[in-house]
Symmetry: C2
Subunit: 731 residues, 2 copies
Amino acid sequence: MATLRSLYKTDDRFELNSNFNVDYVIHYQIPPEESAKAEAAFVQLIEALTRVGLATEVRRGAGSSVLVFVKIASENLLKQQIYRYRVQDWLYGVRTSAPSKDLNTYFEDEPVVEAERLRLVYLLITKPKAEGGAGVTPRLGQWKWVSSVFPLHNHAFNRQWLKQWSQKYFLDENDINDIRDKFGEKVAFYFAFLQSYFQFLFFPAAFGFGAWLILGQFSTLYAIVNCLWCVSFFEYWKKKEVDLAVQWGVRGVSKIQHPRTEFEFERETRDPVTGELVKVFSPLKRLQRQLLQVPFAIACLLVLGTLIVSCFSIEIFISEVYNGPFKQYLVFLPTILLTIFMPTLTTILTNLAEKLTAHENYETQDSHQAAFVQKIFVINFIVSYFPIFLTAFVYVPFAKVLVPYLDVFQVTAQHFTTNGKLETKAFQMDPDRLKKQIIYFTVTAQVVNFLVEGIVPIVKRKVFKAVKEAHTEITQKNVHEEHKDPEEEAAFLARVRNEAELDEYDVTTDYREMVVQFGYLSLFSVIWPLTACSFLVNNWIEARADAMKIAISSKRPIPWRSDSIGPWLTSLGFLSWLGSLTSAAIVFIFSNDPYGPDGHPSNIKLWALLLSILFSEHLYLTVQFIVRYVIGTLDSPGLQKERAERFAMRKFHLEETLGEDFAESAAEANFTGGEKITKEALEEEARRASVSGQAVGPEQAFWQRQRGAAETIQIGRGLIADAVAENKTKV
Amino acid sequence: MATLRSLYKTDDRFELNSNFNVDYVIHYQIPPEESAKAEAAFVQLIEALTRVGLATEVRRGAGSSVLVFVKIASENLLKQQIYRYRVQDWLYGVRTSAPSKDLNTYFEDEPVVEAERLRLVYLLITKPKAEGGAGVTPRLGQWKWVSSVFPLHNHAFNRQWLKQWSQKYFLDENDINDIRDKFGEKVAFYFAFLQSYFQFLFFPAAFGFGAWLILGQFSTLYAIVNCLWCVSFFEYWKKKEVDLAVQWGVRGVSKIQHPRTEFEFERETRDPVTGELVKVFSPLKRLQRQLLQVPFAIACLLVLGTLIVSCFSIEIFISEVYNGPFKQYLVFLPTILLTIFMPTLTTILTNLAEKLTAHENYETQDSHQAAFVQKIFVINFIVSYFPIFLTAFVYVPFAKVLVPYLDVFQVTAQHFTTNGKLETKAFQMDPDRLKKQIIYFTVTAQVVNFLVEGIVPIVKRKVFKAVKEAHTEITQKNVHEEHKDPEEEAAFLARVRNEAELDEYDVTTDYREMVVQFGYLSLFSVIWPLTACSFLVNNWIEARADAMKIAISSKRPIPWRSDSIGPWLTSLGFLSWLGSLTSAAIVFIFSNDPYGPDGHPSNIKLWALLLSILFSEHLYLTVQFIVRYVIGTLDSPGLQKERAERFAMRKFHLEETLGEDFAESAAEANFTGGEKITKEALEEEARRASVSGQAVGPEQAFWQRQRGAAETIQIGRGLIADAVAENKTKV
């Protein structure tokens, strides 16, 4: 791997600054046991690529693999492709104006940006043959030896990017726009979201700090302000998202769907509209399959819930009941159990979620992704919040009732003690446990997570790389002379081989992290008002760490477009709403001493608890309604841009049809009307009718009684005089 | 007035079948005390109309008024206007394709329908001068003597319409489409809604009948099914509405806003985008004014609530406590009080709502209308549902606690009795009161309402007309000979004079009625499951009565467009949601005997009540989510139409740019790509580079190592062989 140092200290090495005009690299694995088949498929691969107009070069890869370098063969083909996709955008309403039909001047006016070029070449490589692509789908069917198709990093940009970001406190619009130009809107939306969230966090951080000093835990005021903030942020982001989409010219791209290659159709029918053959899968059948989500969610809850409850009980038993030997070691037992089992179970369930989503058999990538996100949200919800729910709503109110049941551990443990008698102490509920837990999840876990996500892969790869390099050194000797890397390419090829080994960047992981974090804030921050302060610090680092992750430890992502943060928006809304329920419940339960004299939670009046939840929820919904309305009335740069485009269009179109001068005023005055010479026109018409000598019907006669406005006025005055006279005679 | 008989028995009279090519009639009043001013304004009126290209004729009106007949002077102007509005539609995304620039052939392909013509002429008359209209705003400022601007009924159509509808059970799409062509989409949407609602009612009517027979009152099953039905209907209509809008080509017209003439701006600024002067009113200031809605709602609740509670108490006292003389008459006292005060108070509050809405000072007619609807919904909500809430949640559970306080009436009444002693009986709660009340609201009130709405105006006008005709007979004698109606026009003018006296049709009233009705069904039908049966019958008549109201007892409405039922949709959603709360509460309270042994409602466990409400509401929200998703997956004619249009556009556009054959396949195959002769192109490029003799940089060199696909394949095979060999040596 090009290490951070090698890449980002020496700026001037050619092989790091140039991509040799390569659009994509296809990493092709050759499994020794199937080399003949792989070779045949390789030939097909090159043929397929050539057929759609791509130029190819092949070079040796790391281990037993080859690297196929791909670029679009002629600029003309590129232009044609881009033109077509822009027409499509226009038809779907993504662009306001149709692309000009003169291709040559058109591309001078609206040049192709890097992300657009890369996106289209990727589509050309991966689209099915029937739709004009080469149909190369990595790791699938005939292409199972294609391990990845990836663009090359623009290291000059990356270097600049990381340097800039590490030196500034706030990211601005240009920073996000740069990301958009290089990595596409999908990634840019993540950073825009992160940035908006970061800025919004200043308020709860400051207010939370104040509340921590003055109000303490479980403050009703803090809960209300926090809920208000959640609503505001959520609604703000919904508007901001649309605005960004307009500014980036991608509003509505989510309507243009990329078909999923893995989609299995039941039958083909002719579309009544277009006459094309369309692949159909019964939506009812899919609905049935989607119902499997219910048992899936229950399974998640049971599996993960059991683990969490068990560890929780053990922990309580050891820390608050048990008083025997090895206590100082045994307290780590639940943590160890969790660390072992939780990732395992999560992985198993995530795989299950993937299978389930595949089974639901969506036509498009977006709907597949959304369905998958829904499922992993369930898993994450349980893993992240269930322990706190357990403490807040079971342990604290019912501890004294439930702890005696922990005797089961005592009995078990007695088998292992020599004297058959376990040393215990009287159970004492730890009133700070809830706060400690929140601090663990919002501070410790975030730090741990940062380390796992940011540092571990780098270390891991360093080790792997050392091993691999030693290996490659040896193999290099066996390569035929003609296949050795040419000197001027050697460094570049080494870099590409490294990039081929990197992980693919998945923006979903990063979104998930942020959404889960937002959940802690909305659901539980009333327990520890400093939560937002911790997140503020964390997210400043997070943005830089994510940038580094993309630039250094991932393959360059395919620059997909997107007009929203997609399915995560629903999750955010859900957490924000749920916050109104949990906050109310927590404040109600904890702000007074919940225990009656006998230690039972009799002081908690169920009806009052329910009433406060009900009240809080509906207050939340009302506030949401108002905030939505208020935000809806505000203007924004995106809306202004849209208006400007529409105005330009209107002027242009009217100019073409009705002449320039006229159009100017018409466009301004919102479609003025009026023919100047109407009186003459009218009289002319009348004259024509009388000249033609036709019998004048009652209808024509009706309109010819008063010739022009002057006569109408004259007669009208007569009628008015009549009416007045009439009135006088009556008086 | 042209009575039903005169209009609809004799089909062949010319003056009833022809509108003399009149587009609009302006009814101009001449108040005797200001006749000079009115005369001057009349001259301005004719001049203003002529200036924008309208032809005018003036005739004597009824009483001291004149009728100005208006038609568009030249077909050319009409075409220009229509062209411009269609361009606007296209720019706002209402039309998929831009109007063709060749005006002559264009109008042959897409002819002008009656509603479109009338709408544009109306806009020409009423739009501000700055925007190219005549700026005539009835009853406002300089035009205060213009009492109305209305199109003439198409009686031939009306006759046919009423005849057809009275003879069929179900309205179909064509019936609605006819209304759309004549009265515009706004009215058509009402009838489409009514029709969908009517069809949907069959299910709750049948199920309700079954429930009434088998399950009885307060059935949990009925409540659940009813809620499900409400959700389904609401979500169905939301989809249907979009679908209709697409089919009618009006999807998105709500974005094209008509400015409100009464809008008062704070300042004018230049729009940064278009450079036009725009009138600005601070949205924050408006928000402050909108906050007045809260005291308004409270005032409504207090005023109407006090009246309702008073009458309610009196009624209970008289019917269930009082046992003295005149009881048989006194029972009518509350009804009389309600009949007198309720309409008065409602009118006052509606006027207040109108003033408040005007004070909120909206820029556009739509937002003004929506804000007004919101306020009258509050009034209607209280008037319609408060009495039932009172019975269900106050009277029944707390009667025994509260009735003793009714002593106040006893004390009052004792003053009026001679012997100073009031005959009373022991209070006995009427367990059927709730059911009786529901039956009153859902049957009796609907019938009464039908009479008030349908029959009374006809009778009223007949009486007025008799009086007026006698009067007109006399005045006719004083009219100058030249101003007397020409014989061939006399009948037509009489008809127009009658139409000028009719009320304006307001679709809001009809919507309100239906929405309130839907509310009874969603909120309270669990009390009396036959509710839907009653509504089914009522709505069959309602549709015909409304048609008659439009055709016979109203001026022809201006054919406005619309893409939705607008603000009523929100009200429907609100009622549907609230139904989940009230149904749960009613079922919970009434399905068991709510009284403890002492008569106090101690049997009602508050926590259980709240829990059942909370549960029911969230079940509702979940079901809504699912139904929305399921309905979202279904295809519909509107969506198909949209797809077809997009496909046609795509094909057309690609044809123009890329040639016909190519476009055919491209449009079908979703933008296929591929240049056939890429290998040659590539080699050509390489040759050119070497011929030009330039120094070949490493980038060019990289792409010239393998000339064409064949060489790439050959080298690739070599590399693969290497890799395999390597592996073998290792083994």
